[in-house]
Amino acid sequence: MSAASATAPPTPSPVKRIVGALIRTRELGIILALAALICYTAAGNPRFLSGQSVRDILLNTAILAVMAAGQAVVVITRNIDLSVGSVLGLSAFAVATMMSANPGLPMIVAILAGLAIGGVAGLINGVLVRFGRVPALVVTLGTLYIFRGVTYSWAGGQQVNADELPRHFLTFANDSFLGFLPWLVLIALIVVGGVSVMMRNYRVGRELYAMGSSPQAAELAGIRVARNLLGVFVLSGALAGLAGVLFAARFGTVDAAAGTGLELNVVAAVVVGGVAVFGGSGTVWGAGLGALLLTVIGSALAVLDINQFWQQAIVGALIIAAICADRLVAVRIARALRKKDSHV
C-alpha cells in the first residue's frame, strides 16, 4: 500500500483533497527543499546557475541517480543492496580494461558489457538472498567485500588512464544528444523514468510494492516472489554496472578503488527521496530527486565557500531528517485510519 493512496480524508471537497494529497506527497518536500537551496545559493552567487555549473551538477547526478533507481526498487521490496559501490568498481575497471585493449569497440558494447557484469553480480546477490535464505543486508555486505576484493586482485595496483582509452569512449560523457542534453543525463532520465513507470503502472511493479508491504501475504497471494526478487537484484546490479561504464567514461582514470563508499550515498539518496526502509512505499523518481538534492548540496557548499567537510555531516543529518519525516507521516496515517474506522 503506498503512503499517498492510504490517506483519503473522510469527507473532502475536491480542492481540499488535491491540496491534501499534494501536501502528503513526500516528493513535494524534496522539491521545495531543492528549490529553496537553489534560490538561496543562486542569490549568494549567481555563477551557481551558469551553464557549466548546471551541466556539472547534472552530470554528477546522473551516475548517482542511475544507481538510486535500482536501489529504490530493492528497498521498496524491503531489502537492501550494499554491494552497488563495489559492483560499480568492478564494472568500471572491467569495461575500461576492455576498451583500452579493443579501442575499436562501439560505445553500445561497453554499455552492454557493464549491464551484463552488473547483472551477474546482482544475480549472485539475489540467489543468495532467495535460495540461501540469507538476509539481504548480510549477503550484500559480504559481496561488497568480495566484488571489491576481486577487482583489487585483478587490478593488482594497476590503473587504466585516460590516454589508454579510445576517444569516442571519453567524449561520450561530454557529448550531448541534440546539442543540449548530455548523453549521461539522457541515460539517467531514461532509467529513472522507465523504472518509475514500471513500478507505477505495470503489474510487476505493483507486485513489488506488495512484497515490500508484507512478504508473507505476497507469497500467499500467488505473487511469484522468487522470480521477482531475483529480477530486483539483477536490476539493481545491472544499473550499478551501467553506472560503472558512465563512471569510466566520465572520469577516464579508473583504478580498483572506483566507487568505494558510494553505496552510502546511494542509500542516502533513496532514503532522502522518500522511500521507506521498511519497504512498500516510496517512488523511484523520488529517489532520483534525492540524488539530485545530494549533488546540489555538494555543489552549493563549494559555491558558497562553506567548508567542504560539512558535506558528509549534512548528508547524515538529511538521512535522519528524512526517516523522521517518514515516521511522522506513518503515525499520522495510522491515526487518520483509526479515526475513519471509529466513524463507521
Binding site: 540469507v134 555486505l141 568480495i146 583489487y152 526502509v277 567537510f309 555531516a313 538521512i319 535522519i320 523522521c324
Partner: protein
C-alpha cells in the same frame, strides 16, 4: 552423549571456535613468522579495536537491532582527541572526555531508535555519515601526532619484556565482563528475550526501550575508548581513523554465530569470530597476499557463516520429513 551436549557441539559457535583454533595451529605450523611473539603482539593490536567494538555490538544484534555508526564514532572520538590536544588540555582529561563524547553520540542513536521508534539500520547509516562528517569538521583532513610517549608507548608496548601486549589488560577484563553479563545475569537473558520477540518481552515486564537505549550508550562509549586506543596506537589523530571498520565488526559478530534477526548467539563465538578474521588476514599478509584481496575472504566468510547453517537446517528438515514419510508408509 546426551542430546544437549550433542546440540552444543554441533552449534555454530562451537564450530567457529574449533575452526579458529585450527587456523591458529595450522598457521603457526605452516606460515613462517606467524607463531612468533612479535607477530602475536601485532595480531592483538590489529584485532583490538574490532574486539572492543564487537562486545557491545553483540548485545545490540542479539536484541535484533544494529549499530553501523561505531566506526564513525571511533573517528569522531579520535578527532576530538586531536583537537583538544591541540588546545593544550592534558591527556588525562582528554581520554575521559572522548569516552563520554562517544557515550553521548551513542545516546543520540539510542534516542532516535527507542524514543522515536525509527529503524536502527537507517538511523545508524545516517549517523555513520553524520559522525564521520563531524569528525572532518572538527579536525579537517590534517593529523595530530605529538601525543606523549608514555601513553603511545604503553598501548603498543608489552608486559615486561615478553610478547603479551599491555592492551590485553583492558581487553580481557572487558570481554569477561560482557560475557558474564550476557550469559550469567537476568539482564543478559532479557536481551535474548527482546531479540526473540520484543513484544512478548515487553509484556513479560522487560523494559525493552530503556534496555536498548543503554545498549547504544555503551556501544558509543566503547567506540570512544576504541578511538582513543586507535589514536594512541598509531600516535595519530585523524578524522578518517577506523573508516569502514563497522563492516568488519558486523562481519566478525555474524561470523561468530549471532543471528542478524536477534535472539541467538554467544560471546565466546563472537570472540572466536574476531580472532579468526584477524588471524586469517595476518597469516595471508605474511604470505604476501595483498591486503585488499583479503576482502574476498572476509566477505565469503560472512556470507558462509549464515548460508552454511541454513543449508544444514534445510538438509536436516528434508531428512526428517523423509523419515516421517517412511514411518507413515509403514
Amino acid at each position: 552423549m546426551s542430546e544437549r551436549v550433542r546440540a552444543r557441539l554441533a552449534s555454530w559457535d562451537s564450530i567457529i571456535i574449533l575452526l579458529t583454533v585450527a587456523v591458529l595451529v595450522v598457521a603457526s605450523l605452516t606460515v613462517s613468522n606467524f607463531g612468533t611473539g612479535r607477530n602475536f603482539t601485532f595480531l592483538v593490536l590489529d584485532l583490538m579495536p574490532i574486539m572492543l567494538v564487537a562486545l557491545p555490538m553483540t548485545f545490540i544484534i542479539v536484541t535484533g537491532e544494529i549499530d553501523l555508526s561505531v566506526a564513525s564514532t571511533l573517528g569522531l572520538a579520535s578527532s576530538i582527541m586531536g583537537y583538544l590536544w591541540n588546545q593544550g588540555l592534558s591527556i588525562e582529561s582528554i581520554i575521559p572526555i572522548c569516552i563520554v563524547a562517544g557515550a553521548l553520540l551513542g545516546a543520540l542513536n539510542g534516542f532516535l531508535v527507542t524514543g522515536l521508534g525509527l529503524p536502527s539500520l537507517a538511523v545508524t547509516i545516517g549517523t555513520l555519515a553524520l559522525y564521520r562528517g563531524l569528525a572532518f569538521v572538527v579536525l579537517g583532513d590534517g593529523a595530530v601526532a605529538d601525543f606523549p610517549f608514555n601513553y603511545t608507548g604503553w598501548v603498543t608496548g608489552t608486559i615486561g619484556d615478553g610478547s603479551v601486549p599491555n592492551v590485553l589488560v583492558l581487553i580481557v577484563p572487558l570481554a569477561v565482563l560482557f560475557g558474564v553479563i550476557l550469559h550469567a545475569t537476568p539482564f543478559g537473558r532479557s536481551l535474548y528475550a527482546i531479540g526473540a520477540n520484543a513484544q512478548a518481552a515487553h509484556f513479560s515486564g522487560i523494559r525493552v526501550a530503556r534496555t536498548k537505549f543503554w545498549l547504544y550508550v555503551v556501544s558509543g562509549a566503547v567506540a570512544g575508548l576504541a578511538g582513543v586506543l586507535w589514536t594512541l596506537r598509531y600516535s595519530s589523530a585523524r578524522a578518517d581513523n577506523g573508516a569502514g571498520l563497522e563492516l568488519a565488526v558486523v562481519a566478525a559478530v555474524l561470523l561468530g554465530g549471532v543471528s542478524i534477526f536477534g535472539g541467538k548467539g554467544s560471546l565466546p563465538g563472537v570472540l572466536a569470530g574476531v580472532v579468526l578474521l584477524a588471524a586469517l588476514q595476518n597469516a595471508l599478509r605474511l604470505q604476501d597476499v595483498s591486503g585488499q584481496a583479503l576482502n574476498v575472504v572476509t566477505g565469503a566468510l560472512l556470507v558462509l557463516s549464515v548460508l552454511l547453517p541454513n543449508i544444514a537446517t534445510s538438509i536436516r528438515n528434508t531428512w526428517q520429513r523423509r523419515r516421517l514419510r517412511r514411518a507413515a508408509a509403514v
